[in-house]
């Protein structure tokens, strides 16, 4: 039987020291992903460092109108927080669109950033997976690909990133604060996750000895934001496509647009091409469609996920249109 040792970190300093000295250690937050992966024999840590009692649970307003979210804030607390609900509706909606109430009560913000793909081949030890066993190949190619990515994928990996929260964070220019015994640094959310390239096992910019301590959201460019998650069933399913969007319109012209996509790429996909088209364009369905076309221009598909390209375009248009027409979102 595979055994591991469990230590509960009493403070951040101890947690960082432990992770720095143990070569194969993992932090345990809510456990909603790590424990599953350990059961499946995919994650095999020798040491599990329980950080769930560290004092990283605050949601605090920052000077200038931003918000700082502790890494151990539970998903359900985040979604319900008045600051989040009023300034960043897209974040609240994204969190509530994910998982189940039970999971949201356990899952943490930091853990959400680090959750791993739901690729059906990643989970199967008998399948080839470059993410799980670098160099072994990718059984998803030529396999069942309905849930796989169409943007930013490579010949080595076409897995989609599963997070809802991260899509909203990517749209909002969030920054991730990480800490180690070597010090503290900040990583833009859009640079926190890596595209697979030829190294799909390298998923984030986080060093092995670093701990995510908080996520900071800058003051919103607009509070008119929303998250649209498209999935086969009404609840408790991963996104086929999701869109996080914030839109500011003055005199029928787009003056600010923030857009990110989920379910379509190996990382939360900031839709910079679409934003570029939108900025300064008339706030019309035609502009939205042009923006969507621009963003998906580089998409590539497998047999099973071709529909995602058009679905992503349409979901972008529908989400922007809803933002434009629904005054209650303001």
């Amino acid at each position: 039987m595979r055994t591991f040792s469990y230590v509960r970190a009493p403070d951040v300093e101890t947690a960082l020291r432990t992770i720095a000295t143990e070569p194969n250690a993992k932090f345990l937050g809510g456990g909603t992903n790590l424990v599953d992966l350990m059961r499946e024999n995919i994650e095999r840590p020798d040491v599990v460092v329980d950080i769930s009692r560290l004092p990283l649970t605050g949601i605090d307003e920052l000077p200038g109108g931003g918000v700082r979210i502790g890494a151990l804030v539970r998903n359900s607390s985040l979604a319900a927080h008045p600051l989040v609900r009023t300034r960043y509706p897209v974040v609240s909606q994204a969190v509530l669109g994910g998982a189940s109430a039970q999971l949201r009560n356990m899952a943490t913000v930091g853990g959400n950033l680090l959750q791993r793909t739901r690729c059906l081949y990643f989970y199967d030890e008998a399948s080839a997976c470059n993410k799980r066993e670098p160099g072994s190949g990718c059984s998803a190619l030529g396999g069942f690909t309905r849930n796989h990515g169409v943007l930013g994928v490579s010949d080595h990996c076409i897995a989609a990133h599963p997070s809802d929260l991260c899509v909203a964070l990517a749209a909002l220019d969030a920054e991730v604060e990480v800490e180690s015994t070597r010090g503290t640094r900040r990583i833009p959310l859009t640079e926190f996750h890596h595209l697979p390239g030829s190294t799909p096992h390298v998923e984030t910019a986080l060093a092995p000895d670093e701990l995510v301590t908080s996520v900071e959201l800058p003051a919103p460019v607009t509070t008119r934001s929303r998250y649209r998650k498209v999935r086969d069933r009404a609840s408790y399913a991963f996104a086929l496509v999701s869109v996080a969007a914030a839109l500011e319109v003055r005199d029928d012209t787009v003056t600010a647009a923030r857009l990110a996509l989920g379910g379509v790429a190996p990382k939360p996909w900031r839709a910079t091409e679409a934003e570029r088209v939108l900025l300064g364009a008339p706030a019309t369905e035609e502009s939205f469609r042009s923006a969507a076309e621009a963003e998906l221009a580089s998409a590539t598909s497998q047999d099973g996920n071709d529909f995602k390209i058009e679905l992503a375009r349409r979901t972008i248009v529908a989400t922007l249109r809803d933002l434009l027409t629904d005054r209650s979102a303001a």
Binding site: L120, D124, A126, S139, L311
Partner: protein, 735 residues
């Protein structure tokens, strides 16, 4: 002699008698049972779909902590295949040779002190394979096919002539995917040998069959085998066979000389206990301009395992669904390197009805006639093949009541004519003629010194209310309050009953219980009639009724005595009687035996931009004959409709096209409806007691599921104008 009339207990929507046990965690589900000294087992399954095992190294596993034994094809003795059952052959015996027939086939079983140790050691079993190229789908030219596997293909009239004479025809191909039964309760077997006596706690819908199978496979007398399944966390057909893992658990218990418990994992539930097989169906319909059906041709092909059988005559039901002079139905199965399919709630009919009732909707569109009107015009007033009157048939009433409750008359004829914002709203319907099924059954009813009664049967309650309705029935027939009747079920030592499956158990077992009650009352009456001390001494049987916990003079309830008093005076601790029921024979009755009928009316909303399908309303009306308990029957139909929603828009067991692995074998990846997907479901019962059944009962276990997929598909067409002929209907088809 008769029983008390009109006690409110029979037919009443009483709560489940086993409800308190279940909600307090006291009901022993199979995996809850533990025995002293038990060991735990874990399966090793093949990671290829076809080929041979070239090397199987158990050295590391055997050295792992706590490991007691590793069973492989090298260690397991040659075992015979289980017997032919009334549902077909038994699965092949496990671990008999080095051949691999499907991905996920058991190749070893590790037995250890704890489940965790067994699971960990199972990972240490090294298996080397010589893989072969697997056959995974219909179109593989190497695939072996079986035509008319059950002799149910049917021909009536001249279908080509019928089609030629038609003013309007429909010719369409429908596909349905593999679905997995997925009971919530993980299947579990706990086996214990004491000498040649074997006791097995098993997740089965059919304890008597498991007993017979184990006796035959392990070469012991049936009387020395006891199989217990008093509670089950669902089955949907997966519990209708003695699967290889059951045999392995029993073999392991024999090998290690201790009780062995094997609980399947969720992924193993996808490969080890069957599934609803995928199929392709072609339906051709012909009708005259006045919407009279003149031809039905229905061909099906479904997928089958390479060395196992499964009962799936998709097309057979189309021969008797409508009055039509020219009919051909034909079924074919194709063998592939896939796990064995099994009956899954409404086997064959769930799939066949989807094709037929979709085609009927297409025909209605082509004729420009209301879909309900088309069905009424072609209603089978008599059994279409036999020409005999039905033993009961309230299908017209199902349609009428359903249409009224649903508001069908307000449905616009044209597709794509209603919307609510971005949601296109559509309505569709389907009819169901579910087949009759019945098997012989035995039961025993005993009155005891405390004045109460016990029902005893090997038949089991799959979770739908068998405990409750048998208790109600016995209480009604013996004139006892519910709380004085207990039902003991799911124990193969008790009188043999058929499987909880085929929608037939309530009628078969209920009739046997009624027979036992009648015999018991006869025996009691004999006791008192000849007894000068009894207030009923010398009574004519016609003048005695069962009421008030005993026997009473008709019209003079003060004159009589309780069962307790009768037994006490005669010095008997108890008095029991055995009852039996046998299936009715249509030729003797001059009637066609009717199963349940039903009609579903569904409303869907389809997002015009994104293709999302949401079911917003379903009205279901069922003719189930006499309903013994409207509450449990309604729950059963609601469950069926939810299963139908799953089949229509979610459920899809994915086989990897290269390896044959089931790729989505978890509840996170295999989608079933969640609460948010299930609208308020309107269920109504109509009809009269069935004339061919002693109790008037027709089963309602499956009819609720059949037709839902077609009603939803037809509603999607009405909403969007797009005809989706392939399940599940997901947004990709509607973008």
């Amino acid at each position: 002699m008769s029983t008390a009339e009109d006690l409110p207990v029979l037919g009443a929507p009483v709560d489940r008698v086993d409800g308190p046990l279940k909600v307090t965690g006291q009901a022993p589900y199979p995996s809850d049972v533990d025995l002293p000294g038990q060991a735990h087992a874990a399966l090793v399954q093949s990671t290829i779909a076809a080929g041979r095992i070239t090397d199987l190294d158990t050295t590391e596993a055997e050295k792992a902590p706590g490991v007691l034994a590793v069973l492989t094809h090298h260690t397991v003795p040659r075992l015979p295949r289980g017997p032919m059952t009334s549902l077909g052959v038994s699965p092949p015996a496990p671990l008999q040779d080095d051949r691999i027939r499907h991905h996920g086939q058991h190749v070893a079983l590790v037995v250890a002190e704890s489940r965790e140790q067994a699971t960990a050691a199972a990972r240490l079993v090294r298996v080397e394979y010589a893989p072969a190229d697997p056959v995974l789908d219909f179109d593989d030219p190497r695939a072996v096919s079986v035509d008319d596997p059950w002799g149910l293909d049917s021909h009536r009239g001249d279908v080509d002539a019928g089609l030629a004479s038609a003013d309007v025809t429909v010719d369409a191909v429908y596909t349905t995917p593999d679905n997995t039964n997925n009971p919530l309760g993980l299947f579990s077997t706990l086996a214990a040998w004491e000498g040649e006596r074997l006791t097995v706690y098993d997740a089965t819908q059919w304890p008597a069959m498991v007993r017979e199978t184990l006796a035959e496979v392990f070469g012991v007398p049936e009387v020395s085998v006891r199989v217990l399944s008093p509670f089950l966390g669902g089955g949907f057909g997966a519990g209708l066979r003695a699967w290889p893992h059951v045999i392995l658990a029993v073999q392991a218990a024999r090998d290690v000389g201790r009780p062995v418990k094997l609980v399947l994992t969720r992924p193993q539930m996808f490969t080890s206990v069957g599934h609803r097989p995928k199929g392709v169906q072609r339906v051709r319909l012909g009708a005259t301009a006045d919407a009279t059906l003149v031809a039905i041709e229905h061909h099906s092909t479904s997928l089958l395992a390479v060395e196992d059988d499964d009962y799936e005559p998709f097309a057979a039901g189309s021969a008797v669904a409508y009055a039509c002079p020219h009919v051909v139905t034909a079924d074919r199965q194709v063998r592939a390197n896939v796990p064995a399919p099994v009956s899954m709630r409404a086997p064959a009919h769930a799939q066949g009805n989807f094709a037929l009732e979709s085609a009927m909707d297409e025909l209605a569109c082509a004729l420009d006639v209301d879909p309900l009107e088309l069905r009424l015009r072609n209603h089978a007033d008599v059994h279409p093949a036999l020409g005999l009157p039905w033993s009961s048939n309230a299908l017209r009433e199902c349609y009428a009541v359903g249409a009224e409750r649903f508001g069908w008359s307000r449905r616009p004829a044209r597709p794509r004519s209603r919307r609510d914002g971005h949601w296109l709203v559509g309505q569709g319907m389907a009819g169901v003629s579910y087949p009759w099924y019945q098997a012989p059954s035995l039961a025993r009813v005993t009155v005891t010194a405390d004045g109460g009664a016990t029902v005893a049967s090997s038949g089991m309650d799959i979770g739908t209310g068998t405990y409750t309705v048998l208790t109600q029935l016995c209480a009604h027939l013996l004139g006892l309050p519910l709380e004085q009747v207990r039902s003991d079920l799911g124990d193969s030592d008790l009188p043999e009953a058929p499987q909880a499956g085929g929608s037939g158990l309530t009628s078969a077992l209920g009739s046997a219980v009624a027979d036992a009650c009648e015999r018991l009352l006869g025996a009691l009456l004999e006791l008192v009639r000849d007894d000068p001390e009894s207030p009923l001494h010398g009574s004519d049987p016609e003048d005695v009724v069962a009421a008030g916990g005993g026997l009473r003079r008709r019209g003079d309830p003060g004159r009589g005595e309780t069962y307790a008093a009768i037994l006490a005076r005669h010095g008997r601790p108890q008095l029991g009687a055995d009852g039996a029921s046998t299936p009715a024979q249509p030729t003797e009755l001059g009637m066609a035996l009717a199963g349940a009928f039903g009609a579903h009316f569904a409303e869907v909303r389809v997002d015009e931009d994104l293709g999302l399908v949401r079911v917003s309303r379903v009205t279901t009306v069922i003719d189930g004959g006499r309903i013994l308990n409207e509450k449990t029957a309604r729950s059963q139909v609601i469950g069926g409709v939810i299963g139908g929603i799953g089949m229509a828009v979610f459920e899809d067991t994915i086989t990897d096209p290269t390896t044959g692995r089931i790729a989505n074998a978890t509840f996170g990846d295999y989608l079933v409806p969640v609460h948010a997907d299930v609208p308020d479901l309107d269920v109504t019962f109509v009809g009269e007691p069935d004339r061919a059944s002693a109790l008037g009962v027709k089963g309602v276990g499956e009819v609720g599921l059949v037709g839902v997929a077609a009603a939803i598909a037809n509603a999607v067409h009405h909403a969007t104008g797009v005809r989706v002929r392939s399940l599940p209907i997901t947004l990709d088809a509607l973008l």
